[in-house]
């Protein structure tokens, strides 16, 4: 019989130690510093910090329609991208799980491709597709469907397309994993009990897929909320998102305390999204 060897406390410390030290050094410490920094302020005209604690940075974010607008844009854009990803990924994942057969592995590989090639390359490719002289506008024009180019770059539309492209895999993967663990018999049993397809979806498939839907939505929402490269490239500086605001303040204006406050606000929204997800799972997963 195999037995789990006795692990002594100092062995545990040695096993967990390096990772814990690394996490503390590169994650916890900078985060704490970020938190403290957000309550400091910049001495005007210099790179010095005024370490007197103040909530002025936060007051500025929530008092200025420019920053509030950026926050609002980022939130609803992330929500929109999440919904679009869900609508696209649901049929795709179901098709891959049920019908793809031997091509399944290949298709899963293809669908996670955007994840492994980084943000920049596919985004630059999208510029070619979406620009006024790009492929899409060119094709539509030569087909005579439009007279002048559709504005697909430098606006929300372009950014949304880019984000959906980049983060669709984050929705597909959890959905596929959940669907694969869902035996076909549940649907069949429901149908034999008199449920039409729509009812089967409402009462059987969706509730049982809920963990996957919540996980995928959280991933896509959080990724979109913090996305920087895609909105920057496809928005061409004309779409103000929260990440681009933080970047401006940190790298261009060099107001680090204010940039930190922006980052903390973003983190709070990530936390809220996570709590909402947990709440939805708790409410609909267990009850009913």
């Amino acid at each position: 019989m195999n037995q789990i060897p006795d692990i002594k406390p100092h062995t545990t410390a040695m096993l967990v130690g390096p990772a814990a030290a690394l996490m503390f050094g590169v994650f916890v410490l900078p985060f704490l510093f970020l938190l403290v920094l957000s309550f400091w302020s910049q001495v005007p005209g210099s790179l010095q910090f005024d370490t007197y604690l103040t909530v002025l940075n936060y007051a500025r974010i929530f008092g200025d329609s420019y920053y509030l607008g950026g926050l609002w844009t980022t939130l609803w854009l992330s929500g929109l991208v999440t919904v679009i990803c869900l609508l696209l990924a649901m049929p795709l994942a179901r098709w891959i799980v049920l019908r793809a057969g031997p091509a399944k592995g290949l298709l899963i590989g293809l669908s996670i491709l955007p994840l492994v090639c980084g943000a920049l390359l596919p985004t630059l490719g999208l510029v070619n597709l979406l620009s006024p002289l790009g492929f899409i506008n060119g094709a539509l024009k030569s087909l005579g469907l439009i007279q002048s180019s559709l504005p697909l770059l430098g606006n929300i539309t372009g950014v949304a397309i880019g984000l959906v492209q980049a983060f669709l895999p984050l929705m597909i993967l959890p959905l596929i994993t959940t669907m694969e663990r869902l035996p076909q018999e549940y649907e069949k049993a429901a149908m034999s009990l008199g449920a039409r397809r729509l009812v089967v979806w409402q009462r059987i498939i969706l509730p049982l897929l809920l963990p996957g839907i919540v996980a995928g939505s959280l991933l896509v929402f959080c990724a979109s909320l913090t996305a920087f490269v895609t909105p920057q490239v496809l928005g061409q500086g004309k779409v103000v998102t929260f990440a681009s605001l933080a970047y401006q303040q940190a790298a261009l204006v060099l107001d680090w305390p204010f940039a930190s406050a922006l980052a903390i606000v973003m983190l709070i929204f990530l936390g809220l999204a996570g709590m909402l997800g947990a709440l939805v799972t708790r409410k609909f997963g267990k009850a009913s």
Binding site: E185, A189, S192, L193, G194, A195, I204, L208
Partner: protein, 365 residues
């Protein structure tokens, strides 16, 4: 008599990407009957149930239920109860909600629905107050819930796909009796899939034996036991199943055993008496419980005694006749003296099958 059976299946065919699962399948089931579908793994039993319940579309053929053609009817309009081998209870719903699901679909609400759920749960021997989730139940309890869920809608037909295969041997015997009693109480026409012949013989009014997508024989259990249509059926009905002894007719009065030994049987068992021409090969089905051992006498088959298994009231004696192995079932008290003996088949017209086709040879008069 209308002459039109309650359930009528005609020339049903189904292939999965070239592999035939059902071939020209016919079956008639009378209202209120309990039919067992018996066959080895992969012979198309589940395929047939899925087609009957509308979850799978047949390539050809027709299904009539209660006089109406239901071949193209979607599953939700058939009102046919289906119980899966793995029960498929909805894991996010409670036991009562599971049983109630079909009633919701029928638009039955409130007190009436509650009463029907109680009734169905009591019918399968479960406490209606059981407030638990499917995952908190034992396999046997889950199966009862699955059956309650299927009968709560008062289906026109109840289909059970290997309902007993996930239960242990003791529970299986108990539940198969309960299934039969449930059927007798509700009167629901039932088709049960199984690959256990004892289960089929013990519960069903009629047994449909399938092999490789075809119906081989459809008969009451006694008829199936007494008159198997093929060597395949004879070789798997009964506990233990009949021995199939390969024989070649040597002349009008004697057979050659595998291994070349000679057997001069009683007059009733000779090739001539049974219409087998000299040189023809056939299989003789010998039921273990009809065979006897003895010392030398006319008509005996020379055998060597092998292993003996004690099973309680009986003993199973394994013997070799030439190169063929046979099993006998003798009362436990019978003394078996080795190493050789003579085996005596019953003196009556034997069950003979064509060695090539496996078909039953016609019984001469």
């Amino acid at each position: 008599m209308t002459g039109f059976p309650y359930l009528r299946i005609r020339s049903l065919g189904k292939a999965y990407r070239g592999a035939t699962a059902l071939h020209d399948f016919d079956l008639d089931v009378e209202q209120g009957a309990f039919v067992a579908l018996l066959g080895p793994s992969g012979c198309g039993k589940s395929t047939l149930l899925q087609i009957l319940s509308g979850l799978l579309e047949p390539d050809r053929g027709e299904i009539h239920l209660a006089g109406a053609d239901i071949t193209r009817l979607p599953p939700w309009r058939r009102n046919i109860g289906l119980v899966f081998q793995n029960y498929a209870l909805f894991p996010h719903l409670s036991i009562r909600q599971n049983v109630r699901f079909g009633l919701d679909m029928l638009g039955i609400k409130g007190k009436e629905a509650d009463a029907r759920v109680d009734e169905a749960l009591e019918m399968v021997g479960l406490d209606p107050a059981l407030a638990r989730r499917p995952s908190e139940l034992s396999g046997g309890q889950q199966q009862r819930v699955a059956i309650a869920r299927a009968i709560a809608i008062r289906p026109r037909l109840l289909l059970l796909d290997e309902p007993l295969s996930n239960l242990d041997a003791v529970l299986r015997q108990k539940v198969r009796l309960e299934l039969r009693q449930l059927h007798d109480r509700t009167g629901i026409t039932t088709i049960m899939v199984t690959h256990d012949q004892a289960e089929a013989l013990a519960t069903a009014d009629r047994v449909a034996v399938m092999e490789a997508g075809r119906l081989l024989q459809y008969e009451a259990p006694q008829g199936l036991y007494r008159n198997p249509a093929t060597a395949f059926i004879a070789g798997f009905i009964g506990s233990p199943a009949a021995n199939l002894l390969p024989l070649v007719a040597r002349d009008t009065a004697s057979w050659t055993l595998p291994g070349g030994e000679l057997w001069q049987p009683d007059a009733a068992l000779t090739p001539a008496r049974n219409g087998v021409a000299a040189g023809a090969a056939c299989l003789m089905a010998l039921r273990p419980e009809t065979l006897a051992l003895g010392s030398l006498g006319p008509g005996g088959l020379p055998v060597r005694i092998g292993a003996i298994e004690f099973t309680g009231g009986d003993q199973l004696v394994h013997v070799e006749a030439g190169q063929a192995r046979l099993t006998l079932r003798l009362p436990a008290g019978t003394r078996v003296a080795g190493p050789t003996a003579w085996l005596f088949p019953p003196i009556q017209s034997p069950l003979l099958f064509d060695a090539n086709t496996g078909r039953r040879l016609p019984t001469p008069h």
